[in-house]
C-alpha cells in the first residue's frame, strides 16, 4: 500500500510512456468545458437575478453601472496578477491605490498642482514603491508576503499623515470627465481603460517571449535561473509594474468621485484576490491569466449588484467576497488535481 504512494516518482521514472496506445483525449488546456465554466456561471447568475427582479436588474443602466463602476477593481486585479504570475504576492497594492488617490487630491486641490503632473507623480510613487518592495525581496531575499504587508501599513500611515485623516474633495473635473462622465456605447470610459490594460497583459504574457519567461520564474525559480533568465530582475520588474498599475487604479478611484478618502481603498484587496484566483480557473485553467481575472471581476460584481438590487444588506458583500476567495482557491486546486489525473500515464 504505502509503496504505491511513496515510491511514485520512482515507479513513474521506470515506466516508459504508454506509447503503444496514445490517448486521443483533448487535454485540459484545450478543454472548453473547463475553460468557459466561469463564463457559463456568469450567464447563470445573470439569468437568476434577471428572473428574480427583471425590472431593476436587466436594464441597460444597471449593466452600465456594473461595467463602469468596477474598472478600479479590474485595474487593481491586473496589478496583483503580474507579480502572482512571477510567483510573488503583492499585498501593498491597496496601499499604493489609496496613496495615489490621496496624492492626487492633495496635490491638485491643496497645492494647486495641475492634474497631469499630479497623475505623473502618483504613478512615479507607485513605481518607487515597487522598486523598494523589489529591493527587499531580491537583494535581501525576504518573503514578498511580509515585505508588502509591512509596506501596505506604511503607505496607509502616509495617507493618514498627508490627508490629516480627512476626505479631500474637489479634484479637477477634467479627470472626472475622462474617467466617468464621458461614455462610449453608454459605458463610462474607465471601463475601456481596464479593457485596454487587460488586452495589453494578455498580449504580453501570451505573445511575447519575455512574458512567457515570467511564467517560468513563477513556477520554477531554479529552472528559470539555469535557463539564463535573470530571476531577480524579472521579479523586481513585476513588483514595479504592480506598483504602477495600482497607482493607476488609485487615480481612477479618485477620478470616479472627484474625491479621495483615506480608508475605503483598502476594501478592494479581498475582491482583487478573489478575482485573480477565480480567474486562474478559467480561460487557461491552472494559470493566472488576464482575461480570466477580467471575467472573474465582472462575475463577482454582477453577483454583488444583483444581491443589492434584491435589497440585501451590505454585510453580504463581505460574505460574498470572502466566500468567493475561498471557493476560488479551492476550485483552482480541483482544476489542478483534475488536470493531473487526466494526463496519460
Amino acid at each position: 500500500m504505502n509503496e504505491e504512494h511513496l515510491a511514485l516518482p520512482d515507479a513513474q521514472a521506470q515506466h516508459p510512456a504508454p506509447s503503444s496506445h496514445p490517448k486521443r483525449r483533448r487535454l485540459s488546456l484545450g478543454n472548453y468545458g473547463d475553460r468557459f465554466a466561469l463564463v457559463g456561471a456568469w450567464v447563470v447568475v445573470i439569468a437568476i437575478f434577471g428572473i428574480l427582479s427583471p425590472g431593476a436588474f436587466l436594464t441597460a443602466r444597471n449593466f452600465s453601472t456594473i461595467f463602469g463602476s468596477q474598472a478600479v477593481l479590474v485595474v487593481l486585479t491586473l496589478a496583483l496578477l503580474i507579480p502572482l504570475i512571477a510567483g510573488d504576492y503583492d499585498l501593498s497594492v491597496v496601499g499604493v491605490l489609496t496613496l495615489a488617490g490621496m496624492m492626487l487630491a492633495v496635490m491638485n486641490v491643496q497645492m494647486h498642482v495641475p492634474i497631469g503632473w499630479a497623475i505623473l507623480a502618483a504613478i512615479a510613487m507607485g513605481l518607487t514603491v515597487g522598486i523598494i518592495n523589489g529591493a527587499f525581496v531580491v537583494l535581501f531575499n525576504i518573503d514578498p508576503f511580509i515585505v508588502t504587508l509591512g509596506m501596505q501599513t506604511v503607505l496607509i500611515g502616509i495617507v493618514l499623515w498627508i490627508s490629516k485623516s480627512a476626505t479631500i474633495s474637489g479634484v479637477s473635473p477634467s479627470l472626472v470627465n475622462w474617467v466617468v462622465v464621458r461614455r462610449l456605447f453608454g459605458i463610462p470610459l474607465e471601463f475601456y481603460y481596464g479593457l485596454v490594460l487587460c488586452v495589453a497583459l494578455w498580449y504580453f504574457f501570451g505573445y511575447t517571449a519575455v512574458g512567457r519567461r515570467v511564467l517560468f520564474v513563477g513556477r520554477g525559480r531554479k529552472v528559470a535561473r539555469l535557463s539564463g533568465i535573470r530571476v531577480g530582475r524579472v521579479r523586481w520588474g513585476c513588483l514595479m509594474a504592480s506598483g504602477a498599475l495600482a497607482a493607476l487604479a488609485g487615480i481612477l478611484y479618485t477620478g470616479t468621485t472627484g474625491a479621495a478618502d483615506p480608508s475605503s481603498g483598502t476594501t478592494f484587496l479581498l475582491p482583487a484576490f478573489a478575482a485573480v484566483f477565480l480567474g486562474g480557473t478559467t480561460i487557461t485553467p491552472g494559470r493566472f491569466n488576464a482575461w480570466g481575472s477580467f471575467i472573474a471581476v465582472y462575475f463577482l460584481v454582477t453577483g454583488i449588484s444583483g444581491l443589492s438590487i434584491l435589497g440585501i444588506q451590505t454585510f453580504v458583500q463581505n460574505l460574498f467576497y470572502g466566500g468567493a476567495l475561498i471557493i476560488a482557491v479551492t476550485l483552482s486546486q480541483i482544476v489542478k488535481m483534475h488536470q493531473e489525473r487526466s494526463q496519460p500515464i
Binding site: N2, A7, P9, P16, L27, L29, Y207, G220, R230, Q343
Partner: protein, 522 residues
Amino acid sequence: MQEGVVVRHLSKTFGGQRALDDVSLTILRGEVHGLVGQNGSGKSTLIKILAGYHDPDPGGHLEINGHAVKLPLRPGAFRMLGLSFVHQDLGLLPSLTVVENFRAGKISTTSQWRIRWGVERKRAEKAFERYGLMVDPSAKKVEDLPSVQRALLAIIRAVEDMAEANTDEGHPKGLLVLDEPTVFLPKTDTDQLFKVVRDIAASGASVLFVSHDLDEALAVCDRVTVLRDGHVAGTVVSTETSTDALVELIIGRRLEALTQFQRSEDPGGDSKVAVKELTGPTIRGVSFDLREGEILGLTGLVGSGFEEVPYLMFGATSAKTGHLTVGGVDHDLTKMRPSRAIEIGMALLPADRQDAGGVGSLTVEDNLMLQVLGRYFKTMWLHTRQLLQDSRNVLKEHDVRPAQPNMDFQALSGGNQQKVLLAKWLQTGPVLLLVHEPTQGVDVGARHQVYEMLRMAASGGMSVVCASSDYEQLSLICDRVLVFASGELCDELVGEEISKDRIAERCYGGGRNSCADQIAGD
C-alpha cells in the same frame, strides 16, 4: 555471537526491474557489518525496506533477535522493533540546540504535554559522556558544531532512541543503520567516529555500515557484504580480505555488452575549451581542457566533488577561483552566471530534473522551447501556431512519446523528460554542453537514445562534459574520463583504457590516500 538481524530471500521489483534479487544477510549482535556496492546495486532499496518505506516482494523473511517479523513493515514500525537509522544528511535541525535535536524524536512522538528540559539535558549529557562527545547540550546550536560532532550527535541520538524502544538490562539490542555517515567528514575526523561505532557494537547492538569508501569499511567493520546488481555478491570477513578483492566483488563481470560507440580518435585539433584552477565548495585547483567534438567524463566517489564542476563552469554555483576559456576568450568563473554562460554558448542539463531541469506543471512545449522563444517573436507577435508545429516536430525527431506538446511536462516518463530537456538545449546549438547524471531515473531504452543524442551532438563539433557516477555510461560515451578524489583531479583514462571496470577500479582502488600521494608526487 548471537544473531541480531536476519534477512532471507528479500526481493524488490520496480516496474519490471529487479532492484533486489533474493538477498539474504545475517548481522550478528555486537557486530559492525558493512554494506558496499555501486550506485544502483540495491543498498538503498534494502535500507528503505527495513525502514518500511518500500514494500518488498512477497516471499522475504525478516528476523530480529530471533523473532520473526511480518513483512512488509509499516512506516515507522522500525522504531518499535529496535531499528534506528542515520542517513547521509543526518536529519538534524541546524538552528536548534543540541538537546532539542537530541530529543527531537521523543518530542515529536510523545503524548506528554510538558517537556522537562532539565531531565532531557541530563540524559543527553550522560549519553555524550558514555561515547566521549564533548559538547554542552544546551549551550550550542547544531549549526555551530564541527561536522564530526554533528555526525556523532546524530549517531548517539539514534542509539538512544533505539535503546529506549528495546533494552536488555540497559544494553541496546537493536540494529543501527548508518548510511554513508562519513561522506561529508574530513578524513582526519573519521577515527573518532569509528571509535563510537565500535563502542556501540561492543555494548551489544548490531550496526549496518553503508559506505562507498572501501578502506573505511574494512577499517571499521567485522564483516562486509557486497551487493551487485541487486543480489549478494559475497560476504567477507574484513581481516581476511583486501580492498582489491572487494573491488572485484563490487564490479563483477560485465553483465551485458552494450553497443560500443566508436571513440573519436585524437583529431589533433586544438583544445577549444579550457578550465584553469577551478576551486569550489569541495574541489580545489582543478584544470583540464577539451577538444572540439570531445566527450569528457568526470567521475569519482560520493564526496569527491566531481559533480560540482558543471555547475561551477555554468555559474550556477559560484566558484572561489577559476577561469574558463571558450573559443579563445577568457572568462572569470567567480563572476560567471547562467545567463552569461548561455550567451557564450554553454548549456547545462542538471541531474535534478524535477527541480532544476524542467517545470512539471508547465507544458512540454513551454519547457522545450524556452530557450528559442525569441526566434518565434516576429513583427511584435509570438507565432504560437508555428511554435506548436515545430515543437511537435522536435518531439518526433527525438522520439519523445507521446509527442504531444500540450501535455504537462510532469506527465512524461523520466526518459522522455530527459529527451525533451536535452532537445531544449541542443536547439540552441551550444559550443559546450554540460550534463550531470544524464540518465538518472531513465529506463534502459531511453538511456541509449540519450547516449545517441550526446554522441550525435559531439560529432557535430560540440564539446561535452559529462559528470556521472555511472561507470558503464562513461565507458560507453566518453573519449576521456577524469577521476576525482577528495576534491582533486587524480587520474585520467584515455581511449582503450576506458572501461567500466577500469573506471571503478580507479575510483575505489585509487583510494583517497593514494590519490593524494600521487598528486603530491607529481
